[in-house]
Symmetry: C2
Subunit: 316 residues, 2 copies
């Protein structure tokens, strides 16, 4: 990028700060705004922590954490944050009335050609953009947290979002090193939570039906399926699992998966006895008060894993 693109980040929680790091690492100038000035005051620490962890893992494209944090300004007003912004990334709480209110403000205040993107995971873009003058440039850009580490981001248009807005948003994401997933229309759960949901429904079903323990279901994904999936998507995986590629795979195994699917139509209750057993199993492995520590360990292992996966991709 010859000229620094200005991005505005609205909401300075963990997701907002991780987006700020991702955009700054990619060469953008970033303005971070939070209407809660106390929250905005803590943002520099969060930014520094996120960027330092990536610096230690040599995942800042040769830049230092200091370089990154320097490129992020804390804006005192929404107006100054939005001024000159080409892309606005919203990260306010997941409540419909708040999103509606914030998007109305953004649409009224941001430059008319700025993309207005929400990080929401649970709300459809149509739910909070319908009545806006600039609804054609509104969409969802939903990351897996933290976006400074995990590259996939779902670009979800409302029915009135212009294809050009999806394309501009996706192009910016590619420029900063994210991996955009271009959706043709909005749908509950987008892509990633739909894939996760399908797998979770089966995980709960296996436990509800007493087929295996929660711990053993975890083993099947973590120590069985997932390593290959961290290298290859579902289609790439099956394409390499038959000599004649995906068509050959479907010919060989399609009937088996049809039989399996016949037993997967009905969901199970996620609460009651099934949840009791899953919770017991989780708490036996990890007491509730150690969750924060386990989250920190997961995050640090995830940094190391992403570094490893990135290295391999460069080498091959």
């Amino acid at each position: 990028m010859k000229q620094a693109t200005k991005t505005a980040i609205i909401g300075s929680g963990l997701i907002g700060c991780a987006w700020a790091v991702a955009f700054a690492r990619g060469g953008c100038t970033v303005a971070l705004y939070d209407q809660n000035t106390a929250a905005a005051g803590q943002a520099k620490d969060t930014l520094t922590n996120l960027a330092s962890e990536l610096e230690e893992a040599d995942m800042l494209n040769g830049q230092t954490a200091h370089d990154i944090v320097q490129r992020v300004g804390i804006a005192n007003t929404l107006e100054s944050a939005l001024s000159g912004a080409a892309h606005v990334q919203e990260n306010v709480p997941e409540k419909l009335d708040i999103k509606q209110q914030v998007f109305a403000q953004l649409d009224a205040t941001a430059p008319p050609d700025a993309i207005l993107a929400s990080s929401t995971s649970a709300l459809l873009p149509s739910a909070f953009t319908e009545h806006l003058t600039g609804r054609h440039r509104c969409l969802v850009a939903h990351p897996i947290n933290p976006p400074s580490l995990i590259p996939a981001v779902e670009i979800v248009p409302a029915p009135w979002t212009e294809p050009e807005a999806v394309e501009r948003c996706a192009a910016l994401m590619e420029r900063i090193g994210q991996k955009p997933i271009r959706m043709t229309r909005e749908i509950d759960g987008f892509i990633m939570n739909r894939l996760q949901g399908a797998l979770l429904q089966e995980a709960f079903r296996l436990v509800a039906d007493g087929i295996a323990s929660p711990k053993d279901v975890d083993t099947g994904l973590r120590d069985g399926l997932a390593p290959r999936w961290a290298l290859l998507g579902p289609f790439e995986t099956i394409d390499l699992n038959a000599p004649g590629g995906v068509r050959d795979y479907v010919a060989r195994y399609g009937a088996m998966f049809e039989t399996i699917a016949a037993g997967q139509r009905e969901t199970r209750d996620w609460t009651g006895d099934t949840l009791d057993r899953i919770e017991q199993s989780c708490r036996a492995m990890l007491p509730l008060d150690r969750i924060p520590q386990a989250q920190a360990e997961r995050d640090s292992r995830l940094v190391a894993l992403m570094k490893h996966l990135g290295q391999r991709k460069t080498n091959t």
Copy 2:
């Protein structure tokens, strides 16, 4: 293990050879038998290749590839392979009549207390063990390939399999460093293909419904969901994704996943136009004649990834 356990591997294809390496690395004495003597003759090369790749990655517990291959004897007769074996791992072609015939031979010839385990992925253990005198010691031990690299293995009992047989098989797997999944009863697809099948059905559905391209669905798993899943199973993952653990997660997101599931009851046709589009996408990325090379690259990246994951597990 103070005393070397003898295991017999029946069928010397890639899966049989990978099992031989896994058992030998774990300290077992291994007898490998194939009724096709030409296949058996090639086994030493396959064993050497598998073991050497693991030696280069320092994944043989300090042993050399030579140590491993030395511990595997090619048996000239089924009788000599089975003589004194505590565990028999069958890897013959996935055809019901062949499995029935081979299991009848194994039950008639193996020591009466040997566990008879099949590597089948597609057949239920009841389908080829019902009429055997020793059906109480027959089960499926289904790996993800290659078991010398991927630790998860599903232990699947037939209705008449003694719990003690499941336990002995699982204990042996643990001793050699595999991660056994103890199933309480047989079910189509076992655990891992049921989880994979649920996810694949959604992947095909997203493409069939035109929501995203096959390539973008691949991105969502590979660059979004899977890295975390390579560290944590599905329940561990959601347990760390809410401050109050899995119960809190279900309270927060259960309704969202119910909404998603409502749109996932009907499967889509995996053939026709949907398969055409997936195949086109796969072939655009990878011509058919380059599949063997891509498989080799995947295998080498998988070795490096498993080494990385193993290191992290030891360090944390």
